[in-house]
């Protein structure tokens, strides 16, 4: 429903559908800044809601996935197959006593989880859930997402430092080292699809991959054969970025108890948790945008085919085809995003943890050079081979 309401905004690129809607319905007496403020309020609310829902679904999924991998069921009591479990957890965490350890740097200790969560919320703001459902459609979308998600590290280092616990400090130092090491291959491997698409904008990248039954996704070797290795590098890098096993050194529970969040409890701790799951989803959705077609899937192709819609052109607002396209696009990106999350969970529950020097070696000595090779190869392919491929010039 919400999607349909927002859809009425019919935005051009660079504007906000919520603002458009509000400007239409607001009486003349309402000043312009109030519309902007209301837009921000609604947008933040929606983003927080989306992040919370993703985090809740993520925790439930983690429990079910790990449970079924480990010959057990996971939560089964709260609701059908425990689907209400995250709500119960949330209530429990809210009711817990707010503890600040003695000797902790109180200000930093309180700010740290907020920064961590705020960074992922900010990144989520530019994340479109459908081609016409987003809070902000900015041209440097992916750049903004990467910048915001790496801000998490500042919060983590603050958390580790302010906790007044040596284990926390270890965890945060590891996180800082790890993130610096893996931002590089992450960014470089993303350059490959960015180069092919010629855009930083998530929706444009997605539109560029439209094609018969999703056969135009960048990951396919006939588009660019350097895309698959680039995706593998990207995926390894996002595992390290989101602190997921086998790179979960910052919170390595058997070594550092819980790493940087050892001293946290209750709602503050849940901020770290929400960040982790939201970031997992966000990164794998970014992977979906840049390698797996974004909104494009056989489903959206079918809808577009049936209703005769054109890629990148907004259809008439309330037509059935437009609504169906919005819904299928959202479904596509959510399914793709959670497929990536599932893959990350699968790895987590399968692999042992690597050591800090191995993490650094992998990041600096292997991933970064390989990513550069991918960029070079993909660039050469685009310049010299692309012209001979009829399906790339249609």
């Amino acid at each position: 429903m919400l999607a349909a309401v927002l859809f009425a905004g019919a935005p051009q690129s660079g504007t906000n559908p919520i603002q458009g809607l509000l400007e239409q319905v607001a009486p003349a007496a309402v000043p312009a800044w109030a519309v902007v403020a209301a837009t921000i309020g609604i947008g933040v609310g929606i983003t927080v809601a989306i992040v919370s829902v993703i985090a809740m679904f993520g925790t439930w999924m983690e429990r079910k996935v790990s449970g079924h991998i480990q010959c057990r069921y996971g939560p089964m009591r709260a609701g059908w197959h425990g689907w209400l479990q995250p709500l119960a957890d949330g209530v429990k965490l809210l009711l817990k006593e707010d503890l600040v350890p003695k000797g902790a740097d109180r200000v930093l200790y309180v700010i740290a989880p907020a920064i961590v969560l705020a960074s992922v919320l900010a990144a989520m703001a530019v994340f479109p859930l459908a081609p016409n459902f987003y809070f902000a459609d900015i041209d440097l979308g992916i750049f903004f997402i990467l910048a915001m998600t790496s801000t998490t590290t500042i919060g983590v280092v603050m958390a580790g430092w302010s906790s007044n616990s040596k284990w926390s400090l270890y965890g945060s130092m590891r996180e800082a080292a790890q993130v610096i090491a893996y931002e590089i291959p992450l960014g470089i491997s993303l350059l490959v699809p960015i180069m092919v698409a010629g855009s930083f904008n998530l929706i444009e990248v997605s539109n560029d991959q439209a094609g018969w039954m999703g056969m135009n996704w960048y990951i396919w070797p006939w588009v660019n054969p350097f895309m698959l290795p680039a995706f593998v590098l990207f995926f390894i890098a996002i595992l390290a970025e989101t602190k997921r096993a086998p790179f979960d050194l910052p919170e390595a529970e058997s070594e550092l108890v819980a790493g940087f969040m050892t001293e946290y409890s209750g709602i503050r701790w849940s901020f770290f948790f929400m960040e982790e799951y939201a970031a997992m989803f966000l990164y794998s959705a970014v992977g979906a945008f840049f390698f797996f077609g974004g909104f494009e899937s056989p489903l959206t192709w079918l809808v577009r085919h049936q209703f005769g819609l054109t890629v990148g052109v907004q259809a008439e607002a309330w037509s059935l085809g437009a609504i169906l396209l919005t819904l299928t696009s959202a479904l596509t990106i959510v399914v793709k995003g959670f497929a990536g999350v599932f893959l990350m969970m699968w790895l987590r529950w399968t692999l042992p943890r690597v050591r800090i020097d191995q993490v650094m070696t992998l990041g600096y000595k292997y991933l970064t050079p390989l990513a550069l090779v991918c960029v070079l190869g993909a660039g050469l392919w685009e310049v010299f081979v692309k012209g001979f491929l009829p399906w790339r010039n249609g």
Partner: protein, 395 residues
């Protein structure tokens, strides 16, 4: 090359050093434990660390000290048996066996053959269970959570088997002085056979998931190397000794109970560390020995199942034991090494001295030597590979 990249030596004075950059740094002292997931109980290791590198380690024990030896001097011979369950609670059958054998040695009792068979089955099943925990938690230490639960699946069955035979899952007190408490219930032996079949199938899973997993090998090979001479010097026993390539197993070399007969039948081997993936005596070798021992134990259980015959399960012993004066030492091959019981009797109802030589205690001493120079993450791998049970180190 700046000094900071060289490995600092152990016990570097006050721990304060001046680097070439004019930055004064100081080693950090970190308390690992007593509440820490990797110390397998309540043990504390004071680690001095330079960044991620350990420069010194000092284990502190005693958090689980329950005066077992003092209690042994104050309760009757038979009453002490339940206390033996509690030192190495993962291998309680073996503890029962070791203590019973020490008392039997003083008393000179002949044990019925069926009792010996059941004792061997129980001890070997318990060895499997103990190694499952050891190897599973080792995977857990290195971050692999799922194999641990797979191993607990089989261990659960093992404990259910023990529950059927003696009613307890962890602290059995089943092997008594003179035999075993009661005969196996009907159908128990065939269930053990089914367990053996299933276990052999599942065992391959552990090897595939963990033992040959590339990350696992990277984390354990060449880490915590104990050369042969060092192993002997520290008096290591069990998988720790065999992991260093020393071919020694009490079940073969100083056989007790039925093991001489079983060894002669040639049904089991003694797995040794060979330095296959790294250096001889590294963490991987110790894990390898444990994994291989599980399958050898299954073979021993199968031999017993094949040759068991009906008969009495406990010798005639009086209600109140009066053990002849004398002193005896009996060492048996516990899952963790040589479990020794040294008992002294003055002919009365109560022991004069009841000494327990726990293998974990001796094996743990090697940590002070192994940890300096290792990374923090490696120190976890090393502690895990010593496979200690704190109940036994502290007794």
């Amino acid at each position: 090359m700046s000094q900071s990249t060289t490995l600092p030596t152990a016990a570097a004075g006050t721990g304060e050093r001046e680097f070439m950059l004019d930055v004064r740094t100081q080693d950090m002292e970190v308390n690992m434990g007593p509440q820490h997931p990797a110390t397998h109980g309540v043990m504390r290791i004071l680690i001095r660390a330079d960044g991620e590198i350990c420069t010194g380690a000092q284990p502190h024990l005693g958090y689980l000290h329950r005066c077992a030896e003092k209690i042994g001097e104050n309760v009757e011979w038979l009453q002490y048996l339940p206390y033996t369950d509690r030192y190495d609670y993962l291998a309680a059958m073996n503890n029962n066996l070791g203590y019973s054998m020490a008392v039997e040695k003083l008393m000179g009792i002949e044990i019925p053959r069926r009792a010996l068979m059941i004792r061997t089955i129980c001890a070997e099943l318990n060895r499997i269970g103990s190694h499952l925990v050891a190897f599973g938690t080792y995977g857990l230490d290195l971050g692999a959570i799922t194999p641990f639960l797979y191993m607990f699946r089989e261990r659960e069955w093992m404990m259910a088997l023990f529950e059927k035979i003696c009613g307890a899952r962890l602290t059995y007190s089943y092997i008594r002085i003179g035999g075993v408490f009661n005969d196996a219930p009907p159908g128990w032996l065939s269930e053990v056979e089914r367990f053996c079949d299933t276990f052999e199938e599942k065992w391959q899973e552990y090897v595939d998931l963990l033992m040959v997993n590339h990350i696992f090998v990277q984390r354990t090979a060449n880490i915590g190397v104990i050369p042969k001479a060092m192993a002997l010097d520290f008096g290591l026993t069990g998988p720790m000794l065999r992991g260093s390539g020393v071919d020694w197993d009490l079940r073969r070399d100083m056989p007790y109970e039925l093991y001489a007969e079983i060894w002669k039948s040639g049904c089991f081997q003694i797995p040794l560390g060979k330095g296959e993936r790294g250096t001889l005596g590294d963490c991987w070798d110790r894990a390898y020995v444990r994994v291989m021992e599980m399958i050898e134990s299954i073979k021993i259980v199968r031999w017993c199942l094949d040759s068991i015959a009906p008969g009495p399960v406990i010798a005639e012993i009086p209600k109140t034991l009066r053990v002849p004066a004398g002193e005896a030492y009996v060492g048996i091959e516990n899952p963790r090494g040589e479990l020794g019981h040294y008992v002294v009797s003055d002919g009365g109802k109560v022991a004069v001295r009841c000494r327990v030589r726990g293998p974990s205690f001796t094996n743990l001493a090697v940590l002070e030597e192994l940890l300096p120079g290792a990374l923090i993450a490696d120190s976890i791998a090393i502690i895990g590979s010593t496979d200690i049970v704190v109940g036994e180190t502290d007794r």
